[in-house]
Subunit: 139 residues, 2 copies
Amino acid sequence: MNKEILKDFIQRVWNEGDISAISEYLADSYHVMHDPGDPWNGMTLDVAGFQNRVSISRAPVPDQRFEIQSLFENEDSVCMTWLWKGTHLGEIAGIPPTGKTLHMSGATVYFFENNKISGHWQVADRLSIFQQLQANRSQ
Amino acid sequence: MNKEILKDFIQRVWNEGDISAISEYLADSYHVMHDPGDPWNGMTLDVAGFQNRVSISRAPVPDQRFEIQSLFENEDSVCMTWLWKGTHLGEIAGIPPTGKTLHMSGATVYFFENNKISGHWQVADRLSIFQQLQANRSQ
């Protein structure tokens, strides 16, 4: 069941950018346990804080899409491996928009409490994004 | 059961560097399905090829250890999230050894055929390693 909840959450919140849907999925307190390179790494967020994170994260790549590769479910957590792509239309890490498509991949463990998402542990292939940004800038 | 096999494989092969044990765990053909930044990304390896990969990968960080964070099992695959650390004692990407401890994290889906490991899909936080190497070099 948590698998299905997570699929809906990714589609509505991260792919479609519907931040008003976040309150349906989030626990009262959301902990970014491990997410190296993410500005919110280590923080505990409420719904408003998570809405802010999604808005800021999606702004430079507004057509971004997570394509789920596989889902694994344990009792209180779901692990999702994913591909991601989107068009670079806003500044990222000081690099102005290039209009190029960016590609990334990653894996995220989402933790659940009573079928609400209470945090994540994530690794993303940020070196590829860094290299794509550098390559696009120098063209 | 595949979870237990994987734990033994990680301990003996990757942590202890016992490449003679690889033949006990590997299928005849091992496919590196997705591993951005890994020199063997996309390749299909036999046991000798995999032994070569482990030897070359471990050489600059011979005391390296994977610490398993979580394991998830589906029918024919196991997903493992991990922390990694080791001492930088050999050249990596042209950067001479610094003697510093390197830290990395990642997630790997291992695929099984008849309880033998036939490939993996992996993402590692290589940007952190790149940043640690740059920082250590400039000290």
